[in-house]
Amino acid sequence: MSERELYRKRLVSMADLTPAHITRILDTARVMKGISERDVKKAPTLRGRTVINFFAEPSTRTRTSFEIAGKRLSADVINISAAGSSLSKGESLKDMVGNLRAMNPDLLVVRHGASGAPEMISRWVDCTVVNAGDGRHEHPTQCLLDLMTVREKKGTLEGLNVSIVGDIANSRVARSNLIGMRAMGMKVTVCGPATLLPPRAGEMADRVTSRIEEAVEGADVVMMLRIQTERMEGANFPNIREYSRMYCLTAERMKRAARGALVLHPGPVNLGVEIAPDVAEGPWSVILDQVTYGVAVRMAILYLLLGGGLPEQ
């Protein structure tokens, strides 16, 4: 996708972006973070622009992050959730989107439980579409905020060893990060029980292992994924106790990581299940920084996609 198209059309997959695009977004996000640190946290850049946050699947964190991002840039932000919308009354997605389209938004932020919904929606509307997480597919803005967090803390991305641990098969965060991190020259290991690794994981990652000790060994970044305990027990592993024993990131296990290693988690955290409290709150943890950078990255995305131009132009 050319830069021109990028700023017009959509962000549904990290595969929509080149490394140059990613760098541009992260640079812009750094400027945006400056706005968030001022006393008056508002720039007039997107005044008169309408952003609809269309969340067909509940998510307070991501929706709030997009909402703050839009408002800090002075856009009119409207939130529509599935619960209150006609989707819950049996209206089809296409009809629902047709209605949104008729309201002439400039940009649609879409969260949906079905993989591919934002891509389909982007074919049904003429405004810009940003994927805020679709099913088991992708969550590109999460990937971008993860990249920003690592770059701000480590100064670089190229050559770093990252291990993503947990339910890789069902994780849109893992899928976006596998694309985005590898595009930026990071070496990505995925780790989880064999039942939660995607088919042919070896083609998606640099390394695949089911042993967390091996994954953490020498890692510069360890990203822990939330485990969906309700759906998983019995089907994919015997019980949460065994999962925890095998995959919980403990301070003891973190000793194997590289010096100055970072621990990331997209949240919300299951303390004591996939991550021990002393790690989540320990010196490695950048989990709260991720939230801060999340707003900055989403400001950058809105700004660039709505044709705000590049800062240096």
Binding site: S92, A114, S115, E119, P199, E203
Partner: protein, 429 residues
């Protein structure tokens, strides 16, 4: 005076080992003569120079949706689609509403077809009541009413004992069981082939093993019982190999392949194209190649479309929720003819897979140009190029991944019982 004389075409009649430029004469709805330089005062003479004259094509696997889903397709619209695609006979699956699991429904289909269909419609009865895979359907009753085979297509009996009983009971009425091979536990939640593409799209996959496990199971049962079994829409290389080996040791196994499976791969799903969603799913290039080889050598006996019309409201939805299946009757012939050019399939073998073989599996007296046989004939222009425009389909279904494709090869005339039911007018070219 005879009804129809077809002159100078390349007559391909695999049932009689015939492939030569000849004339064909039709009288009183029957094949009167096939020979050189036939002279006769016929009501109509068709110049078939440069065209193939074949037995009317037989599609042993379609969904006509009537009764119950007339908004998707009817026996009338589906049969018109068949005629347009060159098919003179279709076997329609039992997953209607109500399910064709008793004599009255079979009779309804036969009667409706007699009144409204332009091609021969042969009903397939369900193996089990409601396709539930539990109690046997009213097999004797359906056989008496005209069912030509048994199938729970769309579903697969997870209980091997039920499959055994269906084969045994059906055999008393000379009805072969047509198996939709899918282990529903292994495919649970899956909406496409499991592999690199499903991983990238974040869609749940169905492994090839889910199809192969059932094929292996039912081959063993058929071998033990010494009874025939037929596998619908075989889609994996492993399944082709299982069928090949079973045939080598004399098991009475037959199989069909669908045009979409030997033409497309799971790459067609990129962009979440719901018109490429079907069961079994589009597989990999290796699977596609194996199917082509299987057709060339005859391991895959028949080509069948699995014509599965749906309305847009069932396709223009989230991928997970979209209905399975595509229409196939009006695009099958050019996709099959491509195998002659691209996969080394001999013309006679290709025509056999579309005529004599499926007719033999269903034990229906069709698929041949033998003298005195019903005059079902298809006249094909194998080189004719045309653009697939779903809006022009006779089928009510527009759900095809081939819209906009440049197709090569087309049915110029479709003749059923001596009557021309489809003739391609020049302006349609």
């Amino acid at each position: 005076m005879s009804d129809l004389l077809i002159k100078g075409g390349r007559v391909i009649d695999p049932a009689n080992g015939l492939d030569a430029v000849m004339d064909l004469l039709i009288e009183r709805g029957r094949i009167a003569r096939v020979g050189r330089k036939l002279e006769s005062a016929a009501k109509r003479v068709i110049d078939a120079k440069g065209l193939w004259v074949t037995p009317g094509l037989v599609d042993m696997h379609v969904h006509l949706r009537e009764p119950g889903y007339e908004y998707k397709e009817t026996i009338a619209s589906g049969s018109a689609a068949a005629a347009a695609g060159g098919f003179t006979s279709v076997a329609c699956m039992a997953n209607t509403n109500p399910v064709n699991d008793c004599g009255q429904i079979t009779e309804f289909i036969v009667e409706t077809a007699r009144r409204e269909a332009v091609v021969n419609v042969f009903p397939v009865g369900a193996c089990t009541m409601g396709l539930k895979g539990e109690a046997l359907a009213n097999i004797g009753e359906m056989a008496a009413a005209g069912a030509v085979a048994l199938s729970d297509d769309g579903r697969c009996a997870m209980n091997a004992q039920v499959m055994r009983k269906a084969m045994e009971y059906g055999a008393m009425f000379n009805l072969t069981t047509l198996v939709h091979a899918e282990d529903h536990n292994l495919t649970q939640g899956g909406v496409m082939n499991e592999g690199a593409v499903s991983a990238a799209l974040g869609l749940r996959g169905q492994p090839a093993a889910a199809e192969e496990a059932i094929i292996a199971r039912d081959i063993q049962i058929a071998e033990y019982l010494k009874l025939p079994v037929h596998f619908c829409h075989v889609s994996t290389a492993g399944a082709v190999e299982l069928v090949r080996r079973a045939k080598e040791r004399g098991v009475k196994v037959t199989a069909e392949a669908a045009p979409h499976h030997f033409t497309l791969t799971d790459e067609a799903l990129k962009g979440y194209n719901t018109n490429a969603k079907m069961a079994p799913p589009l597989r990999t290039r290796a699977d596609m190649e194996a199917l082509r080889a299987g057709i060339a050598e005859g391991t895959m006996d028949a080509i069948a479309t699995d014509h599965a019309p749906h309305s847009v409201i069932e396709k223009e939805v989230e991928f997970d929720q979209a209905a399975y299946g595509i229409v196939g009757l009006e695009t099958a012939l050019p996709l099959a003819l491509a195998l002659v050019r691209e996969a080394g399939v001999a013309p006679a073998r290709l025509i056999e897979s579309l005529t004599a073989r499926p007719a033999a599996i269903l034990a229906i007296e069709r698929g041949t140009l033998t003298e005195n046989a019903a005059a079902d004939v298809t006249i094909i222009d194998p080189g004719r190029e045309w653009t697939v425009d779903p809006a022009l389909f006779k089928s009510k279904g527009r759900n095809t991944p081939f819209g906009g494709w440049t197709a090569r090869g087309r049915a110029m005339f479709t003749i059923v019982g001596g009557k021309i039911v489809h003739e391609l007018k020049e302006q349609q070219a």
